[in-house]
Symmetry: none
DNA sequence: CTGGATATGGTCAAAGATAGTCAGAAGACC
DNA sequence: GGTCTTCTGACTATCTTTGACCATATCCAG
């Protein structure tokens, strides 16, 4: 089997047994698989992206780590639809706002949370001199990451949202 | 491997038990943790700065000491300070995360709101090929816009958080 | 008093420890 | 052979730890 697949499986096994999240050291994992450390980043980018329902965080320096959080269980159609189809690689402010409005109406997010999301992707927040195309790419990624975060929170508390 | 975290926890435990303030000796603490005394300054600078809601005082010479005090501030004061003075034109992910963490600890925002903001300014959300300097400019504007939204919400309803 | 000795804490730059990025090499698959 | 995926290595960015040198109190001998 290919290296990337092995690493992917290894991490997914950890995620299955332990909890919905694992923390590991890039350098150790790379050594374990006898590959370049950057290989790990490749695996994270291609197998554990938001599009696939994962959130990753990391820290450099002494005591650094990589944390991977699984958010969707295979089958959360609605969330994946939003993330992959509705949002995709690029989304405008208007379109984002409509989506956020819907989430609020469906009580997936509170009014305050909706306002916060709107603020984050607003033109005002993004009034930095870069092309609109780039801004829309930013919006898309931000929306996806925020959605996954909400979904992650909902899980576990049974807190009234059906993403 | 994470000496700084240990020292941070140690001090926070003291702060939790005793009072909103502790006094300690830099040299003793350093000896206790078997590290260089200047390590303590690093911890103070990165974990007990005004950003995190602490102020520190100290005195040199015989009978010298370091005192750490947890600051109490209303939510709106804090928000205004962050928006008008602290954030500025550019801010890193880690700095932002610390500010958000503090707002959560002071219950100015809920856990979900904090996670949402963290998600919005995370490296993953901003993994678009533009220079870091631009990303940090984005972060600053996004943070200010989001915090302003929170401030507005608080003013309107006085609800949910510590205004 | 006064000035040096002693006792602390502060600063900063450099070294150490991790992780990230990206261009191009190497493979795999039509 | 062409193209897409995988893999690597050199370079970069970020976080931590230390050590040499600096600053400021307190104490004490004279």
């Amino acid at each position: 089997m290919k290296l990337s697949d092995s690493i992917e499986n290894f991490i997914k096994t950890l995620l299955a047994e332990d909890s919905p999240e694992v923390e590991l050291k890039r350098s150790e994992l790379a050594e374990y698989f006898g590959c370049a450390p950057s290989q790990i980043n490749y695996v994270l980018a291609t197998r554990f992206s938001p599009d696939q329902g994962y959130i990753t965080e990391s820290r450099r320096g002494g005591g650094g780590y990589i944390r991977i959080v699984r958010v969707v269980q295979t089958g959360s159609q609605r969330l994946m639809y939003l993330i992959n189809e509705r949002i995709g690689e690029s989304i405008s402010e208007m379109e984002s706002a409509r989506l956020i409005q819907q989430l609020m109406e469906q009580q997936v997010v509170t009014v305050r949370e909706a306002e916060l999301m709107r603020a984050a992707i607003s033109a005002q927040a993004m009034s930095v001199p870069v092309p609109d195309a780039i801004k829309n790419a930013f919006r898309a990624r931000m929306m996806k990451t925020m959605l996954l975060t909400i979904a992650r929170q909902n899980r576990g508390q049974g807190g009234g949202a059906n993403v």
